[in-house]
Amino acid sequence: MTSRLSGSDLTLAYDHHRRVVAEHLDVRIPDGSFTVIVGPNACGKSTLLRALSGLLAPRHGTVALDGAAISSYRAKEVARRLGLLAQSATAPEGISVADLVARGRYPHQRLLRQWTPEDEFQVARAMAATGVTELADRAVDELSGGQRQRVWMAMALAQQTDILLLDEPTTYLDIAYQIDLLDLCADLHEQGRTLVAVLHDLNQACRYATHLIAMKTGKIVAEGNPREIITAELVEDVYGLACQVIPDPQTHTPLVVPAARSARGARSAG
């Protein structure tokens, strides 16, 4: 397994929390995979993604990108290799879809070369790939949550990176938009990109991931193809939830069905 993006012996912590989120964490993102990180709230999955993207400097250990520490690259160089759809992204008030997507070109631009034909082409292509071309002149503020998320995806695509990290891209979206977005991710993956996403929904993760990483209290409990690693025992261990794992009737990937209340007895989930 080759891996352009990996972390070794990571200790992750936020300064203003003082709490150590993870220690001695080793992780490799297989090239060309659609890797999904799952785990209960506060298990450190988003923190790990932030560290892999270079946003969070690990307190100890290194994140390696293409054989060198990610911290050794200039910010623009990282941005030409790796894109991130952040959770906290805010669109400047009144900005149009086309202008926001165009900002994805920033790492390829220089002071006097801000809008080359290549920039124009890549922006048009990114908007077409995400189906937002007709929205080009609309203000981002006016769009629905699902449309807006597609626009942010378009921006990340315009960045033209082989590796794309997505921090809970489906949060706050209706179920149809969630599937819509995940289908888009699957398309991007099939075109050869490496995707790493943090997702909340275990069943969606099982359907779309080619490589699943299950985390619990800052540790990786299991990783591999979801068909091979997802079992009732693992889910019980990671989430503290009694369940049954059956084949998904549509895709034959694992489908996690929580045990009925009566079967769980009076015990409450940990």
Partner: protein, 344 residues
């Protein structure tokens, strides 16, 4: 979306917003008109023909004095400080994502005044010493406000609220210092309570011009990063902006620009607050427009000074009184709009 104009040549590929361009052009013409108006008609009328004669080296000696030693330096200083305050305000409003994050609201200009007043009242400083103290005072205030808000994530709201609190305290300090001072010191210190262009000579223009020539170009080079920072730190970073360094450089430059221009005129209220907002409404651009804001600031300053000189002529009001009155009304309106939007 408004129309975009693309300029391409070998090695150059730029895209500009059509509306921003023509709005800037119109503002520039308006500023030119305001300058002409001030030079011609602020007191004794100097017809344009006479002005042309004087600029060619002729004219009556008294007229030469009025134009070359009184009106021109004053109007030039107005243009420079107006532009400087506007640029500084635009940077801070963008970084704090709040119009109230302006240096004149969060106490930086008041802090400059405190520095100057302190220098005059306690150390008996002259014009040069007090201007220097004003620069130091402004920067020190910025450090204090930033230091008090940086811990615990440094939220925008806190920066504004802490800044307003510091500004109020500094106003009290300034008044106290002046009330305790000897009469002559109190008189020279009192001009620092309200910004003024009265009696400003070419020396001020020259010094401020040099300071701005050093400070402004790097700020303009960083303006693209400023646009990216408006999308949130994570997005900016993931698009290749070194966030911490860019933010710090932008703040240092904006504080310095505000401090040197306040050192030249005293604390002129509301130009830093209003100019970027007015520009934003005129250009309808989601981008932070540093150069158009600078033109608006220069225009506001020169117009305000014209009014200040004419309203009680021949007595001359400090320009800060006019900007304070007009800007105060603007601030009240802005707050009520924000309040209704529910993010005040």
């Amino acid at each position: 979306m408004s129309r975009r104009l693309t300029f391409r040549a070998p090695g150059i590929a730029l895209r500009l917003d059509a509306r921003t361009l023509w709005v800037s052009g119109a503002l520039l013409l308006a500023a030119l008109a305001a300058v002409t108006l001030t030079v011609v008609a602020v007191g004794i009328r100097l017809p344009l023909a006479d002005i042309a004669e004087i600029l060619r080296g002729g004219g009556r000696r008294a007229d030469r004095f009025v134009l070359l030693d009184l009106r021109l330096p004053r109007v030039c200083l107005g243009l420079l400080t107006g532009a400087a305050l506007a640029v500084s305000g635009a940077v801070f409003q963008s970084l704090s994502r709040n119009p109230l994050g302006s240096p004149d609201i969060v106490g930086f200009t008041t802090g400059s005044a405190t520095g100057a007043v302190l220098a005059i009242v306690v150390f008996g400083a002259g014009p040069v010493g007090s201007a220097f103290a004003a620069v130091v005072g402004g920067i020190a205030t910025a450090l204090i406000v930033y230091g008090l808000t940086a811990r615990g994530g440094g939220s925008v709201r806190r920066l504004v609220l802490v800044g307003i609190g510091i500004a109020a305290m500094l106003v009290a300090v300034n008044s106290y210092l002046i009330s305790r001072a000897r009469l002559d010191a109190a008189q020279s210190a009192a001009v620092w309570l309200v910004g003024t262009l009265n009696g400003r000579t070419w020396d001020y223009v020259r010094l401020l011009g040099i300071a701005l020539a050093i400070l402004t170009p790097p700020l303009l080079l960083l303006s693209r990063r400023l646009q990216m920072l408006a999308m949130g730190e994570d997005s900016a970073r993931s698009l290749g902006v070194p966030v911490a360094g860019s933010r710090l450089s932008l703040m240092v430059l904006a504080v310095a620009i505000c401090a040197v221009s306040t050192a030249a005129t005293g604390p002129v209220a509301f130009v830093a607050l209003a100019a970027p907002q007015v520009t934003r409404r005129l250009t309808r651009s989601p981008r932070v427009q540093l150069l158009p804001a600078a033109i608006t600031g220069a225009l506001l300053m020169v117009l305000s000074d014209f009014i200040a000189q004419r309203i009680l002529a021949p007595a001359q009001l400090p320009v800060g009184v006019v900007t304070g009155a007009v800007g105060g009304a603007y601030l009240a309106w802005l707050l009520s709009v924000q309040w209704r939007k529910g993010n005040g």
